[in-house]
Subunit: 186 residues, 2 copies
C-alpha cells in the first residue's frame, strides 16, 4: 500500500491487492472485512485510509521502542536499518557482553553493558527485545529481557526460545526466504 | 520438521504440523497431497521422509550458490550466517564497490570488485544473487546480476526491483517481522 501511495494512486482494488499478495481478491475482501468496513463499492479501497486502518490493526500507529542485544554484524545492520524508523520502530538501546564494544556509538546509540539492561528497559519502558546474540546465549538474554518487562521478542538467533505465557516471540529465519527463492527458480 | 528430527521424533501428525504453522490439519494434508502421497494412515508423516520430500519440492536438496553484493553490516552478517550452509546455500562470492574493502576477507571469502561480478558469476555458474546495497544502487546491481546469468534475487534493499520474466525476486523486509510481533503483543 505504501508503494501505491508513493505512486500517488488514490484507490486500489481487491484484485490488485490480491495479485500483489498472491491470494484471491475474495480473500482480500474477507480478511479486511474481518476488521471492519473499509471498501467502497465500485471504487475499491482508498489507499491512504487503508494504510491508517491497517496501522491501527497492527498496532504500528504508535511508536514502539526496542532493546537490541548483541551488537555483531546483524545487530549493527538492524540498529541502522532505515526500514524500522519509517514504520514506527525505534531501537532505543543496544547492549553487548563484550567489554571492548561498550561505549562505542552505533547509529547514534552508545552500546551499553548487559548489566544495565534491566534498569534501562524498565526506566525507558521499552516494550520489545531484539535478540542478535549467538544461539547459545539467546535463551539467557530472552529471560533477562522478559524479566525486565518486555512483552515481545524478535529472535534472530538460530535456536528456539521459550518464554512464559503473555510474551510473544517471532523468530526470523533468513534461510526461509532463500528457500522460497529456490522454489520459484525451480 | 528439523526440530522434530533433532528431538528424535520419528513421526508427526498433520494436527501437530498444523498447530506449529497456525493452519488447520486439513490444510496441511491438502497442501502436502498436492505434491504427492507422503502420509501413512494412523501414523502421520515420517519426519525424515518428509524432510527429504520437502527439500526435493523446494529444490533445496541440491546446493545453491549465491553472489552477494554489498558488504556492509547486513552483507557481513549474511556471509557469516550459519543458517545458510545448514540449508544448502553457499555465499560463493562477495562484491563491493568500495575500493577500501576489496581484498578484505570476510568469512573465508575475499571481497571482489564489482567489475569482476559478471565473469565470476558466469565462470562459477552462480545461480542466485543477494542484494545488500543501499536502495539507490539496488536496481543497477540487480541488472548486473541478471545480465551475468543469475536466475533469482534475494533483495534486502528497501526498494522494489524490476527484472525480466524468468527471473525471480524475493524481497526481505525485516520490519514486517516486527509488525507481526506488535500485532501479537497488541
Amino acid at each position: 500500500l505504501e508503494t501505491y501511495d508513493r505512486l500517488q494512486k488514490l484507490t486500489v482494488s481487491s484484485a490488485v491487492l490480491g495479485r500483489a499478495l498472491a491470494i484471491t481478491d475474495a480473500q482480500v475482501r474477507k480478511d479486511l472485512a474481518y476488521f471492519g468496513q473499509f471498501g467502497y463499492p465500485g471504487v475499491g479501497y482508498r489507499v491512504s485510509e487503508l494504510i491508517v486502518a491497517i496501522k491501527r490493526i497492527l498496532g504500528t500507529d504508535k511508536t514502539w521502542s526496542a532493546a537490541l542485544v548483541g551488537v555483531g554484524n546483524m545487530g549493527r545492520a538492524l540498529i541502522q536499518y532505515r526500514g524500522f524508523a519509517r514504520r514506527g520502530f525505534r531501537v532505543a538501546a543496544a547492549f553487548d557482553s563484550d567489554d571492548a564494544k561498550i561505549g562505542e556509538v552505533v547509529g547514534h546509540r552508545k552500546i551499553q553493558p548487559l548489566k544495565e539492561l534491566e534498569s534501562t528497559v524498565r526506566r525507558r519502558k521499552i516494550q520489545l527485545g531484539i535478540i542478535t546474540v549467538p544461539a547459545e546465549a539467546a535463551q539467557e538474554i530472552a529471560d533477562k529481557l522478559v524479566a525486565a518487562g518486555v512483552r515481545g521478542l524478535l529472535n534472530f538467533a538460530p535456536v528456539q526460545i521459550d518464554v512464559r505465557a503473555g510474551v510473544s516471540v517471532v523468530a526470523v529465519d533468513l534461510a526461509i526466504q532463500l528457500e522460497q527463492l529456490c522454489f520459484q527458480v525451480g
